[in-house]
């Protein structure tokens, strides 16, 4: 079973047919998973909206037009307008760019720090591992959102700081995940063989171990993006995330709270946008896990 983790391209051992078919089976399983497929479609639409926002909506989504404030959905404003008379459709489309940017940025920060630290911690074990893991324990002691909130309070508000704060709050998750995988992989025969022929640690980590932890990292990345969008929306809702007038789903929802009774459409559409974006990442993430998790095959 463990053979499925062997990197077929970079390993000195020639890949056998069984390995290829295991990977292929994973993708086939993913394609058969309807929920994951739906997640994938939502994700494509979401990315399409983010990339095509300037084509899909012409005009400035941040420019107020007080005379049209709180207009319900109509021919002129497909999803209505917010309290400052800005098109909700335009703000949701442009907001998808912001949230996608945050999701990618956050996961990027998480991967950038989490994966190398996790690799070192798991591979070298001993004191290094002990120190890194106690530090990780400390960070994990705080709920993720609370940690992000505290970091924003220290770093200050704004898009960059939101990305950094949420990214840092996710670093321990990647450290733990990668370390766990490395602890298993480092005991494998092919790693032992590489070590026996005098291969350097750096080479072993990068060429033999890293490619084999990519599957769980991919799953975590997909789920992490959903969480990142949710965290960013939470910070935006509290007014300490992305700053106005930049369209951001969470801050749209936060501002709309005051109009829930009389004009529910102002809060409903950004809420649906957040829901669908997070759902798409989660469904896809779950599908990836089901397809590539070795335990699910036993």
């Amino acid at each position: 079973m463990n053979n499925i983790y062997i990197n077929t391209k970079n390993n000195d051992i020639e890949p056998d047919e069984d390995v290829k078919s295991s990977s292929g089976r994973g993708w086939a399983k993913l394609k058969r998973n309807k929920a994951a497929l739906m997640g994938g479609i939502f994700l494509l639409i979401y990315i399409g909206c983010a990339l095509g926002a300037p084509i899909l909506f012409r005009g400035d989504p941040s420019a107020p037009n007080l005379m049209d404030s709180l207009s319900p959905p109509c021919a002129k404003y497909f999803l209505g307008t917010d309290e400052l008379g800005r098109s909700i459709l335009g703000r949701i489309l442009y907001g998808s760019r912001v949230s996608l940017m945050i999701a990618v940025g956050v996961v990027g920060v998480g991967l950038l720090f989490g994966v190398p630290i996790g690799l070192i911690s798991g591979y070298y074990r001993g004191k290094t591992d002990f120190i890194i893991q106690r530090f990780t324990d400390m960070m994990l002691a705080f709920p993720g959102f609370l940690l992000a909130l505290a970091l924003v309070a220290i770093l200050g508000v704004g898009l960059e700081n939101t990305v950094i704060s949420i990214g840092i709050s996710m670093v321990p998750l990647y450290i733990r995940l990668v370390r766990g995988c490395v602890l298993t992989i480092r005991e494998e025969v092919y790693v032992e063989a590489a070590r026996a022929i005098g291969t350097k640690d750096r080479h072993i980590i990068l060429r033999h171990i890293l490619p084999n932890v990519l599957a769980p990292i991919t799953v975590q990345t997909s789920l992490g993006m959903g969480t990142a969008i949710l965290f960013a929306a939470g910070l935006g809702f509290l007014g300490i995330g992305v700053q106005p007038p930049t369209p951001e789903w969470g801050s749209m929802l936060g501002s709309a709270r005051a109009y829930m009774m009389g004009k529910p459409h102002v809060a409903t559409f950004p809420g649906i946008a957040i829901f669908l974006a997070v759902l798409s990442f989660n469904l896809l993430g779950d599908g990836l896990r089901d397809a590539f998790d070795p335990r699910s095959k036993i």
Binding site: L66, E83, V157
Partner: protein
């Protein structure tokens, strides 16, 4: 003859009995309706302290007023009524104020209210070791001296004619000396005053319950028990009012005011407040140092549109530097009506550097739709070609930024509110625009400094003649209105929604309400 007389007496007797019975029937419902067993009020937050000297939030000063009573009571028209003080006299130079206390007053714990208690109150207020955040409002008082059991004398450092109105603040309400001995500074959790109500229960985060003070010296309150129910979400408070779960809803959302007004069983009262909302402009640093730029910014903003569309008419555009509700207000002859063309022209005359990005900051949730107002102001400034970057801050960080001295100040354009605690223009015109209140000494974060203005305001404090003082305040208003240290935005309204069964609720422009003598149908 005798028979006729006795029959006449008999008739008279019956008529008297009938009148008495009718009177009993007529009066009985009135007397039972007059006494209200319980009144529930929905409020947003819990109190931190019920020590009137420590309290800075209007709502809890309001509760303090009910528990402690005031030295004077300022009614919604600005007239002062004697309460714990019967009267006062002022010396010709305005430096000595003789205060005559109300006699036969006792605190709810039975302690007598006399000159010793009032002197103790003043000594505590003036003691720098005590935490008194609003001490600046009485900073002119040097000392309090006892004359006799019911008379004290206040000696002032400088003349301050609106001191009588200052006496209506909760800040100077006396606390029972026995309670101070018993609880020490914990009196903030165990308030004992001479007001119409007594604190009977305080469940943190849930409710504050007041019951009628049976020893109250004045007219007995009509409500036996007042429950302040803490409901943080304004929409939930509104729903509770609609269903009759509470009788009064404190500050419903402006966006829902029209809907509440349409309800037959709800009354929405919105008196104009003393609080003015403005965009402060740094007069000593950055591009806003230039008076023409400041005036241009005033012309660039459509204040009426902001009031109509964002605040749902729960505010009114400013037409003078202070709220129309306070003494000293004058509507200015010249108004900064929305005129982007004139704004651009003024910027051109000032050689404005359009490549610079101005830093604008705003609190989020401190004032009515503050973030939204700031966003619109940002858009209006951008419409005349000014680059503006807007940032929101949590309230403590925001306030810390306001108090930095000019060398360290990063303020350029910032949204703020200023609500005088009594109906006199001094707290606004002196407390915001004199050189003396520039941070870090005061809260005049626009760093406005004009020696001519300072002299006029100092003279207004010494002037005891009402008409002459009004003329000085008008002169000061005209100067500052022209200099534009603020983008003059709007005056808020104090919104209170309550059951239409309630009559005679006193609602003041200082964001307070008094249910003490209400009646219920």
């Amino acid at each position: 003859m005798r028979k006729k007389a006795s029959s006449k007496h008999f008739k008279q007797f019956f008529i008297c009995i009938a009148i008495i019975i009718m009177a009993v029937f007529l009066l009985a419902p009135v007397s039972s309706a007059a006494q209200i067993k319980e009144l529930k009020i929905g409020i947003g937050v819990d109190a931190d302290t019920l020590n009137p000297q420590e309290q800075t939030t209007t709502l809890f000063q309001n509760i303090c007023d009910l528990v402690y009573d005031n030295l004077y009571f300022q009614d919604p028209d600005g007239t002062l009524h004697p309460r714990l003080l019967a009267k006062h006299e002022v010396s010709e130079d305005g430096l000595t104020w003789i205060m005559h206390l109300q006699k036969n007053v006792q605190f709810s714990d039975g302690t007598a209210f006399n000159a010793d208690v009032l002197k103790q109150t003043w000594d505590r207020i003036l003691d720098p070791k005590m935490r008194v955040p609003l001490r600046f409002a009485v900073s002119m008082v040097k000392e309090c001296v006892k004359i006799d059991d019911y008379t004290v004398q206040l000696n002032l450092k400088y003349a301050f004619s609106p001191l009588n109105a200052t006496m209506s603040m909760a800040l100077v309400s006396p606390i029972s000396s026995a309670a101070l001995t018993k609880y020490g500074e914990d009196v903030r959790q165990h308030p004992v005053g001479a007001g119409p109500y007594v604190l009977s229960e305080w469940v943190k985060g849930d409710r504050i319950v007041l019951t009628r003070n049976e020893k109250y010296w004045g007219k007995a309150p009509t409500v036996d028990k007042i429950i302040f129910k803490i409901v943080p979400e304004a929409t939930t408070r509104e729903a509770m009012l609609r269903t009759g779960e509470i009788d009064i809803c404190y500050k419903p959302l402006p966006s829902n005011v029209a809907d509440l007004q349409a309800q037959k069983n709800i009354i929405v009262e919105m008196p104009l407040d003393t609080r003015t909302i403005f965009m402060g402009l740094n007069c000593q640093k950055g591009v806003t140092m230039d008076k023409k730029v400041r005036q241009a910014f005033n012309y660039a903003i459509d204040k009426k549109a902001i009031v109509d569309r964002i605040l749902f008419n729960t505010a009114q555009p400013m037409d003078g530097p202070v709220s129309p509700k306070i003494f000293g207000y004058v509507k200015m002859d010249h108004q900064y009506d929305y005129n982007p063309g004139k704004a651009k022209q003024l910027l051109k005359e000032a050689n404005f550097d359009f490549s610079k990005t101005i830093n604008m900051r705003t609190p989020n949730g401190r004032y009515l739709f503050d973030k939204q107002v700031s966003e619109v102001v940002q858009a209006y400034l951008q419409a005349i070609g000014v680059k503006v970057e807007l940032r929101t801050y949590d309230w403590p960080t925001y306030v810390a930024g306001l108090l930095k001295p000019i060398e360290k100040s990063e303020l350029e354009v910032f949204l703020l509110g200023w609500g005088p605690l009594f109906l006199d223009a001094d707290m606004a015109l002196y407390g915001q625009f004199t050189t003396e209140v520039n941070p870090p000494k005061g809260l005049g974060s626009s760093f406005y400094s004009n020696p001519v203005y300072d002299e006029i305001m100092k003279a207004s404090r010494k002037e005891l003649d009402t008409n002459k003082r009004f003329a000085l305040l008008k002169q000061a208003s005209e100067i500052v209105w022209d200099d534009c240290p603020w983008i003059w935005l709007h005056v808020e309204k104090f919104v209170l929604a309550y059951s239409s069964k309630i009559k005679n609720l006193v609602v003041t422009p200082t964001e307070k309400f008094y249910p003490t003598y209400i009646t219920m149908e």
